[in-house]
Subunit: 291 residues, 2 copies
């Protein structure tokens, strides 16, 4: 058997699957309820233990918020998990379960999920972009997850889109996330990003302008990424999928405005299909690939 | 045996190699002297024929300026080869030689050359950037040339670096090439780019400012590409290599100015080693890989 875990700031999800990747059962709970890394590991291990029957769980993959030392399976200092510092997650989970454990970036796992079981099925080259509180990504090259030389490929939220833009918390001026990330939009406007997008959809003018600016910047990122990577498809997940009808046409119009990207090589832009389950589904795939 | 051809606006180069990629001989001539596609093909085929001895040439790869229909081996309308329109280069060369023929992007071939035999040896993930009249690139992912879904990956010159920047001939505002490409710098300043870089190296203030601006924009592109791709190394070729001592520190300073790209994951930035031979060397490798 295999297990995939999606560790987020809000929820922890565990999925159990057969060794071919077929899901058998899944469980979730609230991360803050568990609180400490030790209790999160114990909860996940006990869910796996209770449900594996007589089967051995060969391989577990866990998607977690960055930055991650993927080689050693350590969560460095994830902003989404306050108080977690240099947590040796792979070692802890290995000790608790006896299985081999693979720690990966959460957006990479969601991208892998969408590639194998979601909107990206059938492609060979796609880029998953999560647009929520922050902006991240997972890159599929020639049918495989590409994590880069240090496990940080796909950090599309920190591409510089406008060098004269405001300073982001990452320390860079005018990165994609400073224009599009929900946390930054909330800070700028004084409204939660979900409310802002909802107001824009209702026709509120100011909200509409803010959302349109964000969508245009995202569209420019898609232009740059198309030129650098030539993917078949962008799959977009995260909170933005709830405002897809509003935002997708704006992004697409920007992408289409580039005469250099001729229609024949223009990637498709699709909404993610797996919703909140993308991370656990991708983690199961990652456990399968690395078993 | 194998052959690699580098077809540029100025020169055509042919290299013959053993089937393991070891170079045996190489030849070059001036493209405008030959003039037509038919005569270029005839010249290359006769050089190969005269020098192959009794060996059969199994596989030929040719790097040519884009845009290229790589599937069908057709040069669409390369700005660097005026008058060449929809030239079925693969078919022509196949007919003239009897060998299988692979047509590829010139920057991809140069990148492949630097990866296998030049500055990028020993890496698994690198990005070659050519900075000359134009700006292009070749992307190596996990030890292999990544051409993307339509053969246009690595078009880093047309990433958007500053959406408020001037309009480039590609039809986009503020792409990397409009700030850095030698043709654009010459148009802007009224001096050939080589003179501009030489004047900057001699301490000319205005030239220095123009070159520094270009280097800073290139550095920002390196930041974006590091975040998107996480390469081990950037290898830079083209005319800029003649001003490396001037330009490299500026690019590096910009790359280092990103606190988000921690030193442990910062790619190296190296000057290309193969000079004008990179394209033919890469084409031989491509012929070898695809034989």
């Amino acid at each position: 058997m295999l297990a995939g875990i999606d560790l987020g700031g809000t929820q922890v999800r565990v999925a159990l699957a057969r060794s071919d990747g077929q899901l058998i059962a899944s469980f979730k709970t609230k991360t803050p309820l568990l609180g400490t890394p030790q209790r999160v590991v114990e909860w996940a291990a006990s869910e796996i233990e209770r449900n594996r029957g007589r089967e051995k769980v060969r391989s577990i993959a866990i998607g977690a918020p960055g930055p991650i030392d993927v080689e050693r399976g350590i969560l460095v200092n994830p902003p989404n998990l306050p108080g977690w510092r240099n947590v040796p997650l792979a070692a802890m989970l290995r000790q608790a379960t006896g299985s081999q454990v693979h720690v990966a970036n959460d957006a990479d796992m969601a991208g892998l999920g969408e590639f194998h079981r979601g909107a990206g099925r059938g492609t060979r080259n796609m880029l998953y972009i999560t647009w929520s509180t922050g902006v991240g990504g997972g890159l599929i090259v020639d049918g495989k997850l590409h994590r880069g030389a240090h496990g940080t490929a796909g950090e599309v939220g920190h591409m510089i889109i406008d060098p004269n833009g405001p300073l982001d918390q990452c320390g860079q001026h005018g990165c994609l996330e400073v224009f599009c990330g929900g946390a930054n939009l909330a800070r700028e406007t004084g409204h939660p990003a979900a409310e802002l997008f909802a107001a824009a959809a209702r026709g509120d003018k100011h909200a509409g302008m803010v959302v349109e600016r964000a969508a245009r910047y995202m569209g420019m990122a898609l232009i740059s990424l198309t030129n650098a990577l030539d993917p078949e498809m962008f799959v977009m997940g995260g909170g933005v999928t709830r405002s897809w009808g509003l935002v997708q046409p704006m992004m697409l119009e920007t992408l289409r405005s580039s005469p250099f990207i001729r229609p024949a090589r223009r990637p498709r832009l699709r909404r993610a299909r797996l919703g909140d389950r993308a991370g656990q589904v991708g983690a199961v795939e990652w456990a399968r690939i690395n078993q």
